[in-house]
């Protein structure tokens, strides 16, 4: 049973306040979808958990331990960034080797994505020769490779082709069964509907919505997430304008 807890998290870049007093708790067995317009702070939030962004104030606890100045906790995390880029003369195989060197304490690797993405064929290639889609597939496969307990996926299907996106979604649904914490940021309502159990909506660095999809359905059989969101957000957006 793993937990992630954010307490009163604040972050600004210059004058721009990106995260405002974020409080959040995540627990195993749930897929959390992070939504919000561009620049609302989704990626910053995810990067704060990963330690890429260092918060100005507040705390991040992973399994009740503060992650500040620690790096061992990242053993638990698999991360798939929006854009991936690697040294151009590095071979795919070497990137796998680095990750293995850094966290190869688990004997059995999860090669499902490697197989499904057909990555075995390109391990000898340099990254300089790979297309963006292939780089993204490699990144995805790496995120799942060492059975991480916590998955952070930043728009995982954004730059994948439809087939690979489907493979990715199926993989996420499969991992969901293994009692993991999975966080996905996404712009695609339908994707969130199929994958997520909980929706967090961020606007201007604040959490506006933090509800399970069940709650959002509000008893009705079908969820039209787009419509629901528009209804909920209308007053907020109206207030912001005035």
């Amino acid at each position: 049973m793993n937990t992630i807890e954010l307490r009163d998290l604040c972050k600004s870049f210059g004058k721009n306040q990106v995260l405002k007093n974020i409080d959040l708790q995540l627990k195993s067995g749930e897929v959390t979808a992070l939504m919000g317009p561009n620049g609302s702070g989704k990626t910053t939030l995810l990067k704060s958990i990963l330690g890429l962004v260092i918060p100005d104030s507040g705390k991040i606890l992973v399994n009740n331990a503060d992650v500040k100045n620690d790096f061992h906790y990242r053993n638990l995390i698999g991360y798939m960034p929006q854009i991936a880029n690697y040294p151009e003369n590095m071979k795919v195989r070497e990137l796998f080797a680095i990750v293995k060197d850094l966290r190869g304490h688990k004997e059995i690797t999860d090669d499902e994505l490697i197989d499904n993405f057909k990555l075995n064929e390109i391990t000898g290639k340099n990254f300089g020769q790979l297309s963006g889609g292939y780089k993204q597939r490699v990144t995805g496969a790496l995120a799942f490779l060492y059975h991480p307990e916590i998955m952070i996926l930043d728009e995982p299907t954004a730059s994948l082709d439809p087939l690979s996106s489907e493979i990715m979604r199926n993989k996420i649904l499969k991992e969901k069964q293994k009692d993991k914490i999975i966080i996905i940021s996404s712009h695609i309502a339908s994707e969130v509907e199929t994958l997520a159990d909980r929706l967090i909506y961020i606007l201007d660095g604040k959490i506006i919505i933090n509800k399970t999809l069940k709650e959002l359905k509000n008893g009705s059989q079908e969820l039209k997430l787009g419509k629901t969101l528009t209804e909920i957000l209308a007053p907020v957006l109206h207030n912001k304008k005035s």
Partner: protein, 256 residues
Amino acid sequence: MNTKILKYILLDLLRSKFIISYTLFLFLMSMSVIYIGHDSSKAAVSILNIILFVVPLVCIIFGTIHFYNSREFIEFLLTQPVARKSIFWSEYLGISGSLSAAFIIGAGVPVISAGINITGVYLLVTGTMLTFIFVSLAFLSSTINNDKVRGVGLSIILWLYLSVIFDGFVMMIFYMFRDYPLDKYIVALTSLNPVDLSRILILLQIDISALMGFTGATFQKFFGSITGKFISLMLLLLWIVIPAFISLRIFNRKNF
């Protein structure tokens, strides 16, 4: 320190077209200088000019650009269970190591093949130290600036400053205070610039030093003595260490 990352970064860089062509360039330049001219002391002077001009420029520009180009990779490494400083040092040693290797092979093979002497050793030592120094400065300007264009801009300014502008100021100071005995202050002044420090160290090795006349004798006394050489090398070392550690501090607090 995690040498595993360093290994892969080095592997990547040593295969890069840039490092290979830099090696070749240094090699061809040094070879032509050594084998076209007949005078070994003149060859040393020409190689000195390459070292003072090309090495700092290439190291600071390549170091800066490479840092920005590696941003996503650094980000990727940062999400792995490794300390930030390991990643920093791996990147730093990867770049400075591969550039030094290029220098030592490119300039060292011709120099050594022409016959090893103390001047050659000095050329190689100061060239390698300048490589490390300018990679340190490259890291400083890339960690200070998030924006690539500004980072490269700052690097170019740093290079210009240390290679030309600083010397211009020194010349102006010489001229303005020409009625005062300056030699002692000059020694202190030059230690503020690693390029000058390297140039003088090598210059005093070649017999051209006699040109410096009586004023040169003061410099010779300082830079020629064991203590002076030791101090100079220590100063060059400081020029490596201080910018590197400042950029490590910035790197540790940096948001990616």
